[in-house]
Amino acid sequence: MTTTAPGPGRSPTRERPAPPRRRPLTLRRRESRAGLALVAPTLLVTIAVIGIPIVWTVVLAFQRVRLATLRKTGLFGEFTMDNIDRVLHTPGFAETLWVTLIYSIGGTVGSIVLGLVAALVVRRPFRGRTLVRASMLLPYVAPVVAVTFVWQVMLDPQLGIVNAWGQRLLGWDAPVPFLTQESTALATVIVFEAWRYFPFAFLFLLARLQAVPGELEEAARVDGATPTQRFRHILLPQLLPVIALLGVLRFIMTFNKFDDVYLLTGGAAGTEVVSVRVYEFLTARTDIGAAAAQAVVLAVVLIVFVLIYLRFFGRRVS
């Protein structure tokens, strides 16, 4: 078997002289055919349920489409820049983008820091470790609707436990409406985000920590490095690539997040993120064109941020 990859079009032409039926396929070509045959269904379904919708959103962003006129508009009707224009000039656009950015960065940093601390403390075996590790994953696997409700009830000014205890033990003068007042809503949502997604960072960091060879730390200990020095000079450099990767993954996912904010605050009190706004355009205003334009803007901004990030941390991430 040759080791160089055959060019796509070259090998068939080279073999053309022989009658195609008689000559047995090389192992390599059989492998290539099997690969294409196996990947085809996956690829087709992916293109059908994800690829086409993405392209279609871009098309819709440049068309005048409303839910009421939906049945009449064709796929390639008139194209217009109205939607983009409207989206960029509707009041609150810049603020939404800013809120989304703060929310994404806050949620990303919070979840990674919490995840790192969690991974460091359960790294070495202790009694009940499996149970502790499993419990730490609960926020991540539990249904979003249920956990947002519990948070809402816990933070409720009248019957929430946080305010009850805050007033009784910490001497708060009045109950704090965490999720409905401008000064605390965004911060609360960010804390929720960090709480819900730190298990994701925790899992990745723990897996990486356990792959750090024991001799490295042992050698540092023999050389007289204290625990914090060992963390700073041995563990942290080993973890940095994973942290950089988590940074980009969590940022993308938080930037796109809809459920958490929608369920916690409905986008009120200065927490309207872009995807909640897209949803509002889509359902409340039934303006499909504007919703699509808003979504396209979301995707473009996201791609720009990721590219900037990769420029700075690219070597680490790959």
Binding site: R28, E31, S32, A34, G35, L36, L38, V39, P41, T42, V45, T46, I50, G51, P53, I54, T57, L60, L70, V121, V132, A134, S135, L137, L138, P139, V141, P143, V144, V145, V147, F149, V150, Q158, G160, I161, A164, R168, L203, F204, L206, R208, A211, T226, P227, T228, V242, F255, N256, F258, D259, Y262, L263, V278, L282, A292, A295, L298, A299, L302
Partner: protein, 288 residues
Amino acid sequence: MDRDVVETVSLRWLRRLVIAVFLVITVFPFYYMLVLSVRPIERLLLDPGALVVGFGELTVATYAEVLKATDDGGQGFLTFIRNSGLVAVAATVLTLLVAIPGAYAVARLRFFGRRQVDFLFLAVYLFPSIVIAIPLFVVFTRAGLRGSLFGLVLVYISQTLPVSVYMLKNYFETIPVSLEESAAIDGAGRLGIIRRVSLPLAMPSIMAVALYDFMIAWNEFLFALLFLVDKPNRWTVSLGLSLLADGVEVPKTVLMAGSVVLTLPIVILFFASERLLTEGLTSGAEKG
């Protein structure tokens, strides 16, 4: 005392403390959910800070209200559970059927365009689902599929497929090629190798992916909201619960009972398969 001893001792205590704090912040909300779901609302209003349920005030009326059919004055969650279960199982099975061959091909077989396909799967995984939601909303409205559970299954495949391919691919890559080669020398064809060697070896990982897909589909909210909101008898548990909160005069304790009903299947599944899941989720993560 030298610095090493000070640090070692204080970190030992700090570590215990931090573990305790983490346990509290992760488990407490779920405990609180459970406690509230079995307390009468009047008692809650009187004493919102209580953490234990007195024997006298224990009630399961909240669960009865949540689970009973709407005709009997309840909230009809039994129907929602059936809907959610059907959709999640169907989406999981279909996703696996499509994802396994593709993941295997990308992991193992050299074919034209393999790297591009690999990149595509990762890119769609990271794409905003709200971007996909708009055209699906349009198509489903036009095709009359809005309000159909089958349509929802199709949409859920778009949510579970990329991550499934990604996880399975990472696992297939860890199976030693030599095992497959020896099967090939023994005369097995490609499909025979997959069926007799690769699939049995990948079974734990496939189970982990299946559980993960099931959880995604069971927990999903946005698409259920977009597509099913007009058809109350098709609601999933997540959707039913979120809309229950909009209804007037539904006590918070009933909401918490609904949350427990929504969360319990996932928590049971999770604890039953914790090892499988944590290892499956990060398989391949060591490569960084």
